[in-house]
Amino acid sequence: MPKSRTTRPAVGPRQLHPGAWWLWALGLGAAASRTTNPLLLLLLVAVAGYVVVTRRGDAPWARSYGTFLRLGLLVIGIRLVFAVVLGSPVPGTHVLVTLPQLPLPTWAQGVRIGGRVTAEGLLFALYDGLRLGALLVCVGAANALASPARLLRAMPGALYEAGVAVVVAMTFAPNLVADVQRLRAARRLRGGTDRGVRAVLGVGLPVLENALERSVGLAAAMDTRGFGRTADVPPRIARTTAALTLLGLLGVCVSAYGLLTADGAGWALPLLLLGLASAAGGLILGSRRAVRTRYRPDPWTLREWSVAGSGVAAAGLMVWLSSRDPGAFAPSLVPLTAPRLPLLPALAALIGLLPAVTAPTPPRSAS
């Protein structure tokens, strides 16, 4: 009997491998994190937005992109409010307004509420908020193109259970929002108002109760469906797995500290490699405990390479260019200058558009 195909076919409309989308999005995010140039950041956001619009499916999670956009705007807004109220570390000469300053006791020296609001300070906050917002939008793009639950399917066996915990936590938030809406409507039915902070706070306890009940219900459902079944492995192997993973993680942490403080550059890199190897060994051994198999995994073809590659290339080029021409990546605030769009980094950001052409169109199934 010929063996039937077990991966999904790589022709026709299909879902791209979720790992490729997440690599691409994280690449764009890494690129965004290197710069505070608003033109470059807006370009990166536009690139991510264009790819999402051309290549997202019609599943419920694909609509989450708008939420992330709003979240990004909110981050910028909060950053600006803080800059106005608490002042800014950037020394500035262009005073826009002077707010009444709150007198604070001497022990609160260094903290300022109110006072001068300068154009430099506001712009600094805006650029900084924009960078954070761009990062959020990149994560949102990945979320809209490949839901975290699909990414979970591609996890190695040993990480699966940790991954489930993450995914359950991520679905917790939307459910919470739905609960709050329902209970606010119910408050209106009792004659209370459904607007304002008090209405939201008033439903807090019932919402938490609901959320807890739902979590227990989900845990029960998953258990009855075999989640957490493990194969019997000799205790010696189980102990070795735990030791390898723990040592590996410790090694990675210590070496990361060494790398960041810059005085342990000599020993940190070898230790990092050793730690990674040890952790990988632990994961491989740990996979022997997992009995899971995978139903129709997504194939990894040239298209996946091109999508993931475009993200990684954009990030790599940005990092390289930013070390060569830091001025273009962080427009000067003191003195104030208008930001300009540097040609080469802009081209690097445009590489991120590749998936709009090379990624397969998603199947239209949900209606």
Partner: protein, 538 residues
């Protein structure tokens, strides 16, 4: 296949055991129906089979439950996955993945089956349950009946020998319920699966059962036997059994078809008589919906609905899942803004009115009454309701005593049974004396006794000239209670008229008695019993 050996279950915070003295065997390949009043331990019994009791719920399990030779005390639910498939009351709580196909494969992945086997079984199951069209859809985007079928499919792929279902059709419209039951029939017939199923809506399921397991509650021992025998003495029974008992048929018929074959003499006795004509609403219109259209997201939920509610009239709103029933109720209380058309309730426009004023005119008991209750005790809930309604202190408590006699002030609303909770929510809504009362799916999860009480309460409220609108899938409830029935489909009203006319003209919405005694216009068992009594008297 399933053996209970002197099983009893005691939860920590209760004085009485939830289940006791269960000592019986359910043979392989049977469809066993578990019946009994609320609180008699049905869910607990199902839990002992799937291993959720005591592993997930806590409590102490005495005795021994074995399924296919495995003791559920020593095997955790995950170690029974290949043997027992469990589907709970709410299919949405059951879903783990985000597409139908992955959902079907999930259990097999956990078991570590070979990819080729998984692929084949997923395709087989898609065909078996008629889900092939939906394979790429997200489970949360499906209708209630489809979700229930996906939930059943997701546990079938591991080829369990036992299927445990808790109220699989309670939330479904009659058509979707038929689909789900047809699937279960097929499993029992073709695959020899043993099915253990708890259900309140006996009129839908009892004719499919091979065995009925009755938990009478109040400490009486469980009874397992032939459906007709058990039904003869059961405190919970469908209308067809009630009619059979009233007419003195033996053995009792369980399906409409069996009853029809017996009913010729009864039809002859009733010939020439008609049920008393339904009361015609004389009250004024207290709520008026005119050419109402509502969009929810991209979907039009209501299109051009016209409806007037009259004081003293009970109206049943029926239609399949997703037909727009809940949207219509929500629009009446101002939770949705009309896209076009108008809603007026006692001179107010609901979505613009202040909630404090609106609740004096109209009140809604939502599908889950718990949404409406947020206090820690019944007494606190009543006090809060009086404050919300600006009513005399004690108003709500007096209503609770009337609707729910003998309830303790200190009880937590969550510890009440479904029926008690519904009554409490109704009392809260009534505290502000609204002229219009809306109920969304009030009989979901209610046993027959609780339903009887609800019918009495609603009748007396209508007699006090409240206008009542209830959205329901329960055709028996509509036939017994409603003066008028409105049927919605795709957001439009497709039938609106006196209940006998509407339900008799549609097989999907006709109650069992009407099907048995057609073409005579009898709807309910009490009507027939009254007619027979007057015949005997004259």
């Amino acid at each position: 296949m399933i053996t209970f050996d002197q099983v009893s279950v005691q939860y920590h915070d209760t004085a009485e055991p939830a289940l006791r003295g269960v000592d019986l065997t359910i043979p392989e390949g049977e469809l066993c129906l578990l019946v009994g009043p609320s609180g008699s331990g049905k869910s607990t019994l199902l839990g002992t089979v799937s291993g959720l009791v005591p592993h997930f719920t806590g409590g102490v399990l005495h005795g021994r439950v074995t399924v296919g030779g495995r003791d559920t005390r020593t095997h955790r639910p995950r170690e029974l996955t290949d043997l027992v498939g469990t589907v709970g009351q709410d299919p949405l709580a059951h879903f783990v993945t985000d597409s139908v196909e992955d959902e079907l494969a999930y259990g097999m992945e956990s078991l570590g089956l070979a990819p080729e086997v998984m692929r084949r079984r997923v395709e087989e199951t898609l065909d078996l349950l008629g889900l092939a069209e939906l394979r790429g859809r997200a489970p949360s985007s499906l209708s209630g009946g489809q979700q229930q079928r996906v939930a059943i499919g997701s546990v079938l792929t591991t080829h369990p020998r036992v299927l445990v279902l808790d109220e699989p059709t309670s939330a479904l419209d009659p058509g979707a319920a038929e689909d789900v039951l047809a699937v279960l029939q097929r499993l029992v017939h073709d695959l020899g699966t043993t099915v253990l199923m708890a259900e309140h809506r006996l009129e839908r399921v009892v004719q499919y059962a091979d065995q009925v397991l009755l938990l009478p509650g109040r400490g009486e021992p469980p009874v397992l036997g032939e459906p007709a025998e058990v039904m003869a003495g059961s405190p919970v029974h469908p209308p067809v059994v009630a009619l059979g008992r009233a007419a003195g048929w033996s053995p009792l018929p369980l399906s409409v078809r069996d009853a029809r074959r017996r009913a010729a003499p009864l039809r002859a006795r009733l010939d020439g008589r008609t049920p008393p004509p339904p009361a015609v609403a004389t009250g004024e219109a207290v709520a008026d919906v005119d050419r109402l259209a509502v969009r929810r997201g991209p979907v039009p939920a209501l299109r051009g609905v016209r409806l007037a509610l009259h004081a003293g009239e009970i109206t049943a709103l029926m239609g399949r899942n997703g037909a727009g029933k809940s949207t219509l109720l929500s629009s009446l209380v101002g939770l949705h803004r009309p896209t076009s058309g108008t809603v007026r309730v006692g001179g107010l426009i609901p979505h613009q009115a202040r909630p404090k004023e609106l609740i004096r005119r109209i009140g809604l008991v939502p599908q889950d009454p718990r949404d409406l209750l947020y206090a820690e005790t019944v007494a606190a809930e009543c006090a809060a309701a009086d404050r919300d309604a600006a009513a005399e202190p004690g108003t709500c408590r007096a209503l609770v005593s009337r609707l729910l006699p003998g309830i303790d002030d200190a009880t937590h609303p969550r510890d009440l049974s479904e029926g008690q909770r519904l009554s409490l929510a109704l009392a809260v809504v009534l505290s502000s004396r609204p002229g219009v009362i809306l109920l969304d799916e009030p009989t979901r999860g209610l046993d027959y006794a609780a339903k009887e009480r609800l019918i009495e309460i609603l009748r007396s409220l209508a007699a006090e000239s409240h206008a009542i609108l209830l959205a329901t899938h329960d055709v028996e409830l509509a036939a017994e209670l409603a003066h008028r029935t409105v049927i919605l489909a795709e957001g439009e009203i497709v039938a609106d008229g006196p209940t006998p006319q509407v339900v008799l003209s549609s097989p999907a919405f006709a109650p069992q008695v009407a099907k048995i005694l057609a073409p005579s216009p009898w709807l309910t068992v009490p009507q027939v019993v009254n007619a027979l009594a007057t015949e005997a008297a004259s």
